[in-house]
């Protein structure tokens, strides 16, 4: 039972991290109808920027103290993501308005290639460390209930907490600010939003910046767990089934989808994996999603799509 709980909690933690990446997908899809394959590349790019700026800032300015360096690096990396968002809108999306979904999808794949190459040219392609002071040592919970207790990584706990806070902040942003309302309006109906004077281009820059922010946070957390390296951009492939499971247009869906897939993946790996030869977490999420979609084609929380002739 203790082991089972441990697996479940581990799954919830990694699920939270998946949702963080998935959130970026959902935000952009909601506001511009673009399925953004570059989200993974953005995570890598943001993490690289963060890691390298944190290294460089003390060299440039002679700034003392890790916290200050990290803060400055965070601001710089965020500014970079805003620039990326602006360029993407300017150079790519603005010119592809009204194209089919698959064309836009391919364009974001092009962006992904570009960002992968650009990030590594700019920041180097070794493995870098991000150290924002997340504690590494594990801790034991519920020792009085089970023998040995339940082992939980403190780092994971913090990460999950940050992810949850981010989601709450984003929800509030969408719900209560004027920009958030404009974003929701654009998501609802591009033309109607434009006709009442919401500037589409600016909204897209905002959305891509917010997605860049989500990517930065995801990049920092994943990066401090695994180190910043090229494989970080593959995190996006882990988040894809999460997005689809929750429904492409639903923010809460991304969270719940992430938790379901995180837990499912860990449980299946531990309990079914040995029967099949291990490593099944690579495809488990996708196959799970396949079956869910057969029952609910729009995902768990997606808007039901009604076809008309």
């Amino acid at each position: 039972m203790g082991f089972f709980l441990e697996t479940v909690i581990g799954g919830l933690m990694s699920g939270m991290l998946y949702s963080l990446v998935a959130l970026g997908f959902v935000l952009i899809f909601k506001a511009s109808g673009v399925f953004n394959f570059a989200q993974g590349a953005m995570v890598l790019f943001a993490a690289l920027a963060m890691a390298r700026f944190a290294e460089w800032v003390p060299l440039w300015t002679g700034l003392q103290g890790k916290l200050a360096a990290n803060l400055v690096a965070f601001v710089l990396a965020m500014a970079l993501m805003v620039v990326v968002a602006w360029l993407v809108e300017r150079l790519v999306l603005g010119k592809l308005v009204n194209q089919e979904g698959v064309t836009l999808l391919m364009a974001t794949l092009g962006i992904a290639y570009f960002l992968d190459g650009f990030g590594q040219t700019l920041f180097g392609s070794d493995i870098y460390r991000i150290d924002v002071g997340l504690p590494k040592e594990p801790m034991f919970l519920l020792e009085s209930v089970f023998e040995g207790g339940v082992l939980v990584g403190k780092e994971d706990l913090y990460a999950a907490g940050i992810a949850a806070a981010l989601v709450a902040a984003l929800s509030a942003f969408f719900q209560f600010t004027a920009t958030g309302r404009a974003l929701r309006a654009v998501a609802d109906d591009h033309q109607a939003a434009q006709s009442i004077g919401i500037p589409l281009n600016r909204i897209w820059v905002v959305v891509w910046s917010v997605a860049g922010f989500a990517a930065l946070v995801a990049g920092i957390i994943w990066g401090s767990k695994l180190g910043v390296q090229f494989s970080l951009s593959l995190v996006a492939l882990k988040a894809l089934p999460v997005v689809i499971l929750g429904g492409l247009t639903s923010v809460p869906g991304a969270i719940i989808g992430g938790l379901i897939i995180g837990v499912g993946e860990k449980l299946s790996e531990v309990f079914i994996g040995p029967l099949l030869g291990g490593g099944i977490e690579i495809w488990f999420g996708y196959v799970l999603v396949l079956f869910v979609l057969l029952i609910r084609p729009q995902g768990l929380f997606g808007e039901r799509h009604i076809d008309r002739v």
Binding site: Y113, G117, L293
Partner: protein, 358 residues
């Protein structure tokens, strides 16, 4: 002036139905075929054949197959790499497990196995549409990546799933030199291209296109979505499977599952988008673009660097390659979202009027 169909009257149904109704097109195609069959092997050296022409032929074949599914039937698939893998590994298993199995038959049977798998993973398309389907097809990709890596039987228990075919025979003759390999691939490509062209002109091709354009409307006028979608998955997976078997047998010789990873799927999708969705011709253009561009970049970048007195490290070259490749893709999508095939047809229209304005 030269490219005009004036005075070419069609006096029989057969003439009306031919693939290239314009005489000049027929001459052009004949010249192109002669060039492909005789010219290229005479002129190209071993490196060109091995590095460009053979991959180009095989990937054209795969792109052709994917274009049937994505371009003609409108079902976005990111699992093309899996179909190639299934084709390649099925053909390999047939070769080593069945005594005296002729290679050509093994490759075609490999295609049949890919068909079965493709139809199985195509079943969700009956309920799932668009981007949801695209992600759902990734399930096939990741599942088969895993299966060929972890299930020893498929790869005859070789470590890391790497397998190989030592000698190739076609119709009792040994296929060894690059030229012979080139001809083998060309033969496959020509047969399948002709088949695909005729399929998309037939009633079944029109059903696919109706489903692509609007599936509900198509169903209303009596097209069976189940039949249309699954046949598209079947035909497409068959062609891609054969291409996969050729890729393994003829191009790589020995391969491991990574040869058919998700990158391969993306690559094929790039080909048909850049070449032109819903165009047989476009598959060839796209394949040529995607095969040649990285090689050109790879050769040109260090040379360019040397010109301005820079030595570019291999890592920098590969990163710049990534960047330029991504930028080129975006550029092409912006300039011509309907692909190179559209440019081709615009060019043909212009040529028709030339030298007059209209």
């Amino acid at each position: 002036m030269f490219y005009r169909e004036n005075g070419q009257f069609k006096t029989s149904y057969a003439a009306d139905l031919q693939i290239f109704p314009i005489l000049q097109d027929r001459i052009g195609i004949a010249l192109l075929l002669a060039m492909a069959v005789v010219g290229v092997p005479l002129l190209a050296d071993e490196y060109l054949l091995r590095a460009i022409f053979i991959p180009f032929l095989i990937l054209s074949l795969a792109a052709l197959g994917l274009n049937i599914l994505v371009g003609y039937c409108g079902q976005i698939s990111l699992g093309a790499g899996a179909s190639m893998a299934v084709g390649a590994y099925a053909a390999y298993n047939l070769m080593i497990r069945v005594d005296g199995m002729p290679m050509i038959v093994a490759i075609l049977l490999g295609g049949l196995f890919a068909t079965a798998v493709g139809v199985l993973f195509g079943i969700p398309s009956l309920r799932i549409k668009g981007l949801y389907l695209a992600v759902a097809t990734l399930a096939a990709q990741f599942f088969w990546d895993w299966a060929f890596l972890r299930i020893g039987w498929f790869t005859n228990y070789s470590p890391s799933g790497s397998v190989g075919i030592r000698e190739l025979f076609a119709f009792g003759l040994r296929v060894d030199t690059p030229v012979e390999r080139y001809w083998l691939c060309l033969g496959f490509l020509l047969v399948f291209a002709l088949m695909a062209k005729n399929l998309v002109r037939s009633h079944i091709g029109r059903e696919w296109m109706a489903i692509r354009d609007m599936d509900v409307a198509a169903a209303v006028i009596g097209i069976r979505p189940v039949y249309a979608k699954l046949t598209a998955f079947a035909v497409s997976s068959f062609i891609i499977g054969v291409a996969g078997a050729l890729w393994g047998f003829v191009h790589l010789g020995s391969w491991e599952p990574a040869a058919f990873s998700i990158d391969r799927s993306f690559q094929l999708l790039f080909m048909i988008i850049i070449g032109g969705l819903g165009s047989i011709m476009g598959s060839f253009f796209g394949a040529a673009f995607i095969v040649v561009t990285p090689i050109v970049l790879n050769q040109a970048l260090p040379a360019l660097g040397a010109l301005v007195g820079l030595t570019i490290s291999t890592a920098a070259v590969s990163h710049t390659e990534f960047m330029l490749f991504g930028a080129l893709i975006v550029y092409f999508l912006i300039v011509e979202p309907h692909g190179l095939a559209r440019l081709w047809s615009i060019g043909k229209e212009k040529l028709r009027l030339w030298p007059f304005a209209h």
